[in-house]
Symmetry: C2
C-alpha cells in the first residue's frame, strides 16, 4: 500500500460540503473517491484535513489516501484531472510518508472569508462573496477580533449543540483588510469547530455594523452558549486556503 | 422623454449573447428590457454599444435607453439592481444627452481575452478563461499581432459570410501579457466584426503554438477569406471591458 497526499481547490457552490454522507452523494469527498476508485480499480477512501460546509470553497484543501498501485503520482494526477468535474481541481499530488494522515496530522488551518461591501454588484466573483452593502467599521471589528485570539473554549461559536468533545481551540491570527470594495477576514488557528469561522465572522459583522459592542466578545465566549453569538455568515463567502502539517 | 446611459457587467455563461432575438429570449438585452419595462411601466428599448457573443462576458458594456419617467437615476439604478439576476450587474446609471446613443456614438472598444495556460486547473475563474495548457511563445504572438495593427479590411476575420457592408476597421493596440499562468490579450479598436476578436486570438494562438508562422498574417488579411485564418477561440475567454465615446 502506498500513501498519497493531494492538494485540492474547489468551488463548493453546488456541493453538500466535503464530507461523504452516503456512497454516491453530492459531496467533494464522494466525487473524489468515486473517480479515484474507478481510476485505480480498487475502493479508495480519501481523508480530508477537515470538513468544509455545504456551499463553502477551498483553494488549499489537503487530503490523503492509500492505494495499491504502480502508477507514478504525476500519472494519477493527470488522469484525476481528466475525470474530475470542472469545479473540483487537483492542484498537486505526491507520495506521502506511510503514516501521513491529512486530518490527524493537520497542525494549523487558514480560512478566508470575503465580504462584498458595496451597493454595486460583483458579477464575476459573486459565488465567492457574501454581499453586504451596509457600512462596516473596521476599527471596531479589529478591536473585537483581539478578544478571540489565543486559547479559548469556543463552544459559543459551535453550531453542533451535542458536541461532547473539548471545544478548546487556539486562534493564532485574525486579519481584517479592506481591498477596494471587498472586506477580507483571514483566520488562522489550530482547528475549528462546526461553523466556527462563519459564526465568528457573523459576530464581527454585527459589531462592524454597530449592532453590538466590541467588548461583548468575552461574555459570549464565557457563556459557552451559541445563542449569545452573532448570526452564522453565509457559506458562499468562506474558503479554506491553507492547511499546515 | 429622458435619455439614460447605463454601465453593465455580466457573466455571459448562461446567455445567448447580448442581442435580443425574440421578446422573451435568453439574452442580456431581453432581460434588461423586461426589467426596465416593468419598472418604468412602459415599453423600453435598450441599445447596447454592440453585440456580445453567446457565452462571452462584459465588465464595461454601455447601453442607452429612452423613457418617460420622473424617477431620479439613482432610484432607477437601485430598483434595477433589485430585479436583475445575479449574473447581470448594473454598475452605474446616469441621465445622458438627448441624442446620446450607445451604439451609434461608440468611438472605441476594448476586449480582453484570457487564456489559462497551465496543466493545473483554475477552478474559481473557469467560466472566464479558455484553458489551453500547451506551451505558447509570446514573442511569436507579439510579432504576428503587429500585422493586425492599423486600418485593414478584416473580412478574413469575420464569421458572417454574407456581410455586405465595409469590413474596414482600425485596430489601435494589441497587448499580450503573461500574468502568472494566465496569458491575457487586450485588443482595442474602433469597432469589430462578428467573431473578429475570437478569430484574431485563435489565429495568434496557432502562431504561438508553432502551427503557423507570424508572417502568415498579411496573406490572411489580403485573402479576405475566413478559411485562411485560425479557429475561432471559445467565447468563455472573451470580455468586453471598455467602450469609449
Amino acid at each position: 500500500m502506498r500513501n498519497f497526499r493531494i492538494l485540492l481547490a474547489y468551488d463548493g457552490t453546488r456541493y453538500q460540503g466535503w464530507q461523504r454522507q452516503g456512497n454516491t452523494d453530492n459531496t467533494i469527498q464522494a466525487r473524489l473517491e468515486a473517480v479515484l476508485s474507478r481510476l485505480l480499480e480498487q475502493e479508495v477512501e480519501v481523508n480530508g484535513s477537515g470538513r468544509t460546509d455545504a456551499g463553502a470553497h477551498a483553494s488549499g484543501q489537503v487530503a490523503s489516501f492509500r492505494a495499491e498501485t504502480e502508477l507514478p503520482p504525476d500519472v494519477i494526477l493527470r488522469r484525476l484531472r481528466q475525470h474530475l468535474p470542472d469545479d473540483i481541481g487537483a492542484i498537486s499530488l505526491a507520495e506521502a510518508a506511510p503514516r501521513f494522515h491529512a486530518r490527524l496530522n493537520a497542525r494549523e488551518k487558514t480560512y478566508v472569508y470575503r465580504v462584498w461591501n458595496s451597493e454595486s454588484p460583483n458579477v464575476f466573483e459573486r459565488r465567492y462573496l457574501y454581499a453586504m452593502p451596509r457600512p462596516l467599521d473596521l476599527a471596531r471589528m479589529r478591536e473585537a477580533a483581539e478578544y478571540f485570539l489565543g486559547e479559548h473554549d469556543f463552544m459559543a461559536l459551535c453550531a453542533n449543540r451535542h458536541m461532547k468533545k473539548s471545544a478548546v481551540r487556539t486562534i493564532r491570527a485574525i486579519t481584517i483588510e479592506r481591498l477596494g470594495e471587498e472586506i477580507r477576514f483571514t483566520v488562522t488557528g489550530d482547528g475549528f469547530l462546526y461553523n466556527m469561522v462563519r459564526i465568528l465572522v457573523g459576530t464581527l459583522l454585527e459589531i462592524g455594523e454597530g449592532a453590538r459592542e466590541p467588548g461583548c466578545v468575552p461574555e459570549i465566549l464565557a457563556s459557552r452558549r451559541r445563542e449569545t453569538a452573532g448570526e452564522t455568515a453565509p457559506a458562499r463567502g468562506l474558503c479554506l486556503t491553507e492547511v499546515k502539517y
